[in-house]
């Protein structure tokens, strides 16, 4: 019945709403509002591992290193660094850096920051990232040494998001308060308030060592529903939304209040093939699947052109990428021949699984393309969550394969995709279940335990040739990060999917 009455009722309420204080929309734009699909459980940068939490933390905390939009390491709290030996690094700290509470940054703070993650009783979910760090030593007033238990080539990568916290402050207020009501860092914005499930409010920190950021206030609103986020950006309720999908893109591209900023990122799409059983225990069948997929059509038709074909799962911006290894061409005739060779002249029936809801159209298109060459595929969608996690990752039951994406946790190194997807060690991610490539484990291990970058590069080139030939995966494409941004704000999407809002400026009028 509401249909006929609701407008009147709603209008009555709306009048009430007008009487309430209007949302801040002063003449000068001093507030930047970002919509996130959720908040992390804590503001403590060491006690979660969620993208949405990292995006908030990086604007409040600094790490030793920073990464430029060109993906180069830049000084942040460390002004310089060098390897003293294979297992020991020296970092010089910036002088006179202040925390939000006025304290000056000391090497003891740096040591404390690492110690609280290495200390297993604290159960930091980031422990695995820096497990290789054995000890952090304070050398003098502006020098620390980081000692690893074996050569750790990913150290600098890991330090780009490893926020430095204030020892004295945390010891005073305790871990709980630090993560909820009293987070203190050295970053461009300081904490104001966190209304759970609503908004995290930050305010510019006057004494930030880079200088004050352009926006005085920074809000991270929690808006779980994508359609609602789109409505918010169209009405100016928020200034930045993330992960704009291909179907909404045209509408926002031409919108009077918003624009689109898009850039290639690490996230790579693949179909992990189950090499334990038929048909994908046969190399020819796996290669056939790779020839069967018309990647450029998927990119053009389903991803609004915002994708790049890849030869393997190693992404072009990652260290170790070898441009000499070329993607499988789309060749249905060749695919059918290989399938016959593999012993399936009349084709074969398989099931593929996926929990990647946003990529459902691509998943179904790939399934159809496989079907066309005789790999008759039933695509099965799962609700992402516990059941899927158990089925796919904890118990490895996703025969004959699964469509998925991998973003390397923003680590620009081949190891960050090769180890989880292909290494068969117990406790690994999915490689232990689905990949069976002779000799691959050894090469991955060798490359991850050397700091000799040219040597690592050679090893990764070898690995990429090997996996392209052995095809443990259907190699698809990398995607773009696509932001919709208010025309009142000047900002650009970054290849590491960060929202480094110090770079955001009010748009020139």
């Amino acid at each position: 019945m509401k249909r006929s009455i609701a407008p009147a009722v709603a209008l009555a309420f709306a009048l009430l709403a007008l009487a309430a204080p209007a949302p801040a929309s002063a003449q000068v734009k001093d507030t930047l509002t970002v919509a996130l699909v959720s908040h992390a459980p804590t503001l403590d940068p060491h006690m979660h591992f969620e993208r949405v939490g990292i995006l908030v933390n990086i604007n409040m905390f600094d790490s030793l290193l920073h990464r430029s939009t060109k993906l180069q390491f830049e000084p942040s709290l460390a002004t310089s660094w060098k390897a003293i030996s294979d297992t020991q690094w020296e970092f010089k700290l910036r002088k006179g850096v202040r925390f939000h509470n006025g304290d000056v940054l000391t090497p003891a703070d740096v040591k404390y920051s690492f110690d609280r993650v290495i200390d297993q009783t604290k159960k930091s979910p980031q422990y695995g990232n820096i497990r290789a760090i054995k000890e952090v030593k304070v050398v003098d007033a502006d020098t620390v040494h980081i000692i690893t238990d074996k050569p750790f080539p990913l150290l600098l990568e890991r330090l780009v998001f490893f926020p430095i916290v204030n020892k004295k402050h945390i010891e005073t207020v305790g871990d709980q308060a630090f993560g909820t009501t009293s987070p203190v860092g050295t970053g461009p914005w300081k904490f104001v308030e966190w209304k759970r499930d609503q908004v995290i409010r930050l305010e510019a920190f006057d004494q930030h060592w880079r200088g004050k950021p352009a926006f005085k206030y920074l809000n991270f609103r929690n808006v779980p529903e994508v359609a609602t986020q789109v409505a918010e950006i169209k009405t100016g309720g928020v200034d930045i939304i993330r992960n704009v999908s291909a179907d909404i893109l045209p509408e926002l591209k031409t919108h009077p209040l918003a624009y689109i900023s898009s850039t290639p990122i690490l996230r790579v799409h693949y179909v992990a093939l189950d090499m334990r059983s038929a048909p994908f225990d046969k190399k020819a069948a796996r290669q056939a699947a790779n020839y069967a997929v018309d990647k450029s059509t998927v990119i053009q038709k389903l991803m609004a052109g915002l994708g790049t074909q890849v030869a393997t799962t190693v992404q072009p911006p990652a260290f170790g990428f070898d441009p000499e290894v070329k993607p499988y061409p789309f060749d249905q005739k060749k695919a059918k021949e290989l399938l016959t060779q593999a012993g399936f002249p009349n084709g074969v029936d398989i099931t593929l699984h996926s929990a990647s809801v946003a990529d459902r159209p691509s998943f179904e298109a790939v399934s159809q393309m496989l079907t066309e060459v005789g790999i008759r595929t039933t695509p099965r969608m799962w609700d992402p969550g516990p059941a899927w996690n158990k089925f796919f990752q904890a118990e490895g039951k996703a025969t004959h394969g699964a469509y998925g994406t991998w973003g390397n946790y923003s680590v620009f190194d081949a190891d960050a995709v090769l180890h989880p997807l292909y290494h068969t060690e117990p406790g690994g991610w999915i490689g232990k279940w689905y990949a069976r490539v002779e000799g691959l484990d050894r090469l991955i291990d060798e490359a991850r335990s050397s700091v000799d970058q040219p040597k690592r590069k050679r090893l990764y080139a070898q690995i990429q040739q090997m996996i392209r030939e052995e095809a443990p995966t259907i190699f698809l494409y990398t995607q773009y990060d696509t932001l919709a941004i208010s025309k009142k704000v000047q900002y650009a999407a970054r290849p590491d999917e960060w929202l480094w809002l110090y770079d955001a400026k009010p748009a020139a009028r």
């Binding site: 249909r3 709603a10 804590t42 499930d197 609503q198 929690n222 609602t228 059941a387 158990k390």
Partner: protein, 304 residues
């Protein structure tokens, strides 16, 4: 009378015990939270965590511990938030209750007059129109209605905020969305129970006394038609709490529903258990209140 109240109270406790057993069992069957908490950790670390959380004890032991703790009001620490679960749930409860009550109020305000009018002017154009709208309201999924209302009132007309919970205006669309879900059934109940009583002898007698038609309908007919309405409204309250979960997601409302949905995804047992328990408690209490109201409204029950 007193024994009736006691019987209902006993039933209340039994239902709550059942609810906790069911949530406990379903969650146990749904997966390993440790695997989600430490997706890339070596097996040894996971085993250590599992031991420290007591997940390796036999299930009856875990359930016994669980019930013992509930009695003391302790649902455990949220795995994800690392805070006690019950306060996290209770802190969000007022928001969900406010949303639900607003929707319920809105539903009643709409359903009662229109239901009465439909009954009084049976088979008129108004009645048919109302039936049509009831069909529409019942058929529209809550999340869809919500998005349509956003597009109309927030994006096109710009009279209300899209989402959030900061101003009074922000309450309007979620409450209206949720009300579309409950209004149709209430309206039908009002209409049909009015139709039942409107031609009974006592109503005719009242008319014969010469009082105005509206007085007859409101004073005599409606009080008797109110019984089924109270029952259904009580049941609807539970459904509305369920519907609030979806509405909260669409409108970014910081209520208990969103907390529970998030906790289910993260296998955060303590939050799910505390949340379901508190919601069940509210539903059971509302139904208890309805039963009591019934006794008040219908003296016959007291006698039985």
């Amino acid at each position: 009378m007193l024994s009736l109240v006691t019987r209902r109270l006993v039933r209340l406790v039994v239902v709550l015990a059942g609810v906790s057993l069911v949530t406990f069992s379903i969650l146990q069957a749904s997966g390993d939270p440790v695997a989600l908490m430490m997706p890339e950790a070596p097996e040894a670390d996971r085993i250590a965590l599992r031991l420290s959380m007591g997940f390796d004890d036999p299930l009856p032991v875990q359930f016994g511990r669980f019930v013992g703790n509930i009695v003391r009001g302790d649902f455990g620490q949220s795995f994800f938030h690392r805070e006690p679960a019950l306060p996290l749930v209770l802190a969000r409860m007022p928001t969900t209750l406010l949303l639900t009550l607003l929707a319920m109020g809105l539903s009643l305000v709409i359903a009662i007059p229109i239901g009465i009018l439909s009954a009084v002017r049976r088979n008129s154009a108004f009645d048919h129109g109302a039936t049509l709208v009831v069909f529409l309201g019942t058929s529209m999924p809550v999340f869809w209605t919500g998005i349509m209302l956003i597009l109309l009132f927030a994006v096109q007309l710009r009279v209300l905020p899209v989402s959030g919970w900061e101003t009074w205006g922000a309450l309007v669309l979620p409450a209206a969305t949720l009300a579309t879900f409950s209004t149709p059934l209430l309206l039908r109940i009002v209409r049909s129970s009015m139709l039942e009583v409107i031609n009974l002898d006592y109503v005719r007698t009242a008319r014969a006394k010469g009082v105005s038609e509206w007085f007859v309908i409101c004073r005599h007919a409606l009080t008797n038609a109110a019984l089924p309405l109270v029952t259904v409204a009580g049941l609807q309250f539970g459904l509305l709490l369920g519907g609030a979960i979806i509405t909260e997601t669409v409108f970014a409302v910081p209520g208990v529903g969103r907390l529970i949905v998030g906790a289910i995804r993260q296998l955060d047992f303590p939050i799910v258990q505390a949340g379901v328990f508190v919601l069940a408690l509210i539903v059971v209490l509302v139904n208890f209140a309805v039963d009591m109201l019934y006794i008040y409204l219908n003296p016959q029950i007291r006698v039985r």
